[in-house]
């Protein structure tokens, strides 16, 4: 019982992490930008969803995703592209942006945690083979699986996705072949920010939304990407599940050492496979 529940919680948390980390990883892989505002966008999505819950849960999640996607596009056009190729400026710029977003959220939504009700349909439990599962957590896992499938189809089976992969392989050659890499960047940034916003909105019923959520989630996204490999979809998926498992069980079994246990696999992976489990060497 303990193990099965722990496993389910791990998977549900992994699902949230995947929505957060996959955009971070795609943006990092394609644009070589570590967007340190990604955790703040996740939190922003959560807050927006709590304000929109009056229109229904689905509408709240969609509004959060769309608002964050639009915000991401704006950030890419106005800030990120001015910092191209300057890593320190990118780190400081996106971190500064994260602080600004967090401060504005504090101003708008105050410092108290906001609980978000799960949709009525998913508030109950589901009994499978004598074990009782909270329905919402099962739904989270399903949504992450659907998101994985959709992103996989987009990246692996469409021309847009092939162009994104081409730009990851060799950005300069992609431009020389007429691929509008700059527009791709904006698209990927919108997509990544939208997914993070959706992740925040979907996480709200489980985690609620509170100041500091951004700074709590960002290192986890970094961990996922380091474990799974930069720009790798399967890496983001496996990395999210691993971190979900380690984080959840770590807190259940060894709460004092939860952070050590979290960062230990990263150290091992960095020592043995610096490019990550599914990563390729960066050109």
């Amino acid at each position: 019982m303990f193990w099965i529940n722990g496993l389910l919680n791990s998977l549900a948390f992994g699902a949230i992490l995947f929505l957060l980390a996959v955009g971070f990883s795609l943006i990092f892989g394609l644009m070589r930008v570590a967007n340190l505002a990604h955790g703040a966008i996740f939190m922003l999505g959560g807050y927006i969803a709590t304000s929109m819950i009056g229109f229904g849960f689905l509408a709240a999640v969609l509004a959060a995703a769309l608002a964050c996607a639009a915000f991401g596009g704006l950030v890419e056009r106005s800030l990120i592209r001015r910092l191209a190729g300057r890593e320190l400026a990118q780190v400081l710029g996106t971190l500064g942006l994260a602080f600004i977003i967090a401060d504005q959220c504090l101003l708008v939504w105050s410092g108290d945690p906001i609980a978000q009700p799960a949709p009525a349909l998913l508030r109950g439990t589901v009994e499978v083979a004598g074990v009782v599962f909270p329905a919402y957590r099962l739904a989270l896992i399903a949504i992450a699986a659907i998101a994985l499938a959709a992103i996989w189809l987009l990246v692996e089976r469409t021309t847009l996705g092939a162009r994104i992969r081409a730009a990851v392989d060799d950005r300069e050659m992609a431009r020389a072949m007429g691929i509008p890499v700059s527009r791709l960047f904006t698209t990927v940034f919108c997509l990544g920010a939208g997914l993070a916003g959706m992740g925040g909105a979907l996480a709200a019923p489980v985690m609620s939304v509170y100041p500091g959520l951004d700074a709590e989630m960002l290192p986890l996204a970094l961990l996922v990407v380091i474990l799974g490999g930069i720009g790798s979809l399967s890496g983001a998926f496996v990395g999210s599940l691993l971190i979900g498992l380690i984080y959840t069980f770590g807190q259940m079994l060894l709460p004092d050492l939860a952070y050590v246990i979290l960062f230990l696999p990263m150290v091992v992976v960095l020592a043995a496979r610096p490019q990550g489990l599914f990563g390729r060497h960066m050109a």
Binding site: A166, D170, E172
Partner: protein, 240 residues
């Protein structure tokens, strides 16, 4: 009335960082001809190709395709204007399949004067690529990669093809195949700049020859004239 050149460079300077690599390069590539750009190692041939393709941020002078000035354009816009690069070292999109390498470069509806290519037409030209369409580009042999690099460039519907050492590292039989393909492309109306170390190959194909040394044009003329006076060319290229 002679038609305007397919590609012309006048007073082109280019830099890598602080080093001044190309000095006042002037050249004209007539429509439907092959111009061989020769020179020793490090003479600036690849820099010249990259400057035309827009891959060097620091460049000056005028580069034009037909009447259109492309000197200030981005690499994407230069490609759309009808200049396609077959880069040194092939530089395939290694994690994409052969077919995806062609698909991503596809320009279906180019402006007048630029011929669109379909994947089927590329496969007609290179049947080998069709056999390997589902393979990752990184798994191809050198010769197949060269064919794919040419096919990918054609998919952008170019008027001008910039071929940077297409025979590098290829077996003699494949070199001959590449030569036949370049001739076919010229017959189909494409204009080609060919950078080569392989002098016999280049002279056998070219209509015009330009020799550069330390970033300056030191010799130019019809290929037929230079073939008749090989000793002069050998001197320019440091072959004794």
């Amino acid at each position: 009335m002679p038609s305007e050149p397919a590609l012309s460079l006048s007073g082109v300077n280019a830099f890598y960082g602080d080093s001044h690599i190309l000095h006042d390069i002037c050249l004209e590539l007539p429509q439907g001809e092959i111009l061989a750009l020769l020179g020793r190692n490090g003479a600036g041939k690849t820099t010249c190709m990259n400057a035309i393709a827009g891959l060097l941020p620091r460049r000056s002078g005028r580069i034009a395709v037909g009447r259109q000035d492309i000197s200030a354009l981005s690499p994407e816009a230069i490609c759309r204007a009808g200049v396609a690069l077959v880069p040194q070292g092939r530089r395939m999109f290694r994690s994409l399949s052969v077919e995806e390498n062609l698909t991503v470069a596809r320009r279906a509806a180019p402006p007048a004067g630029q011929r669109p290519w379909t994947i089927a037409q590329i496969y007609d030209l290179f049947p080998r690529l069709q056999e390997r369409r589902a393979n990752l580009a990184g798994q191809l042999s050198g010769g197949e990669q060269q064919m794919l690099a040419i096919g990918r460039a054609l998919m952008t519907a170019p008027r001008v093809l910039l071929m940077d050492e297409p025979t590098e590292g290829l077996a003699p039989q494949i070199v001959a195949e590449v030569g036949a393909i370049v001739r076919n492309l010229r017959a189909a109306g494409l204009s080609v700049i060919l950078v080569e170390q392989h002098m016999a190959f280049a002279l056998g194909l070219a209509d015009q020859v330009v020799v550069i040394n330390t970033g300056r044009v030191v010799e130019r003329g019809a290929a037929s004239a230079l073939r008749a006076d090989m000793s002069r060319l050998e001197e320019q290229l440091g072959i004794h």
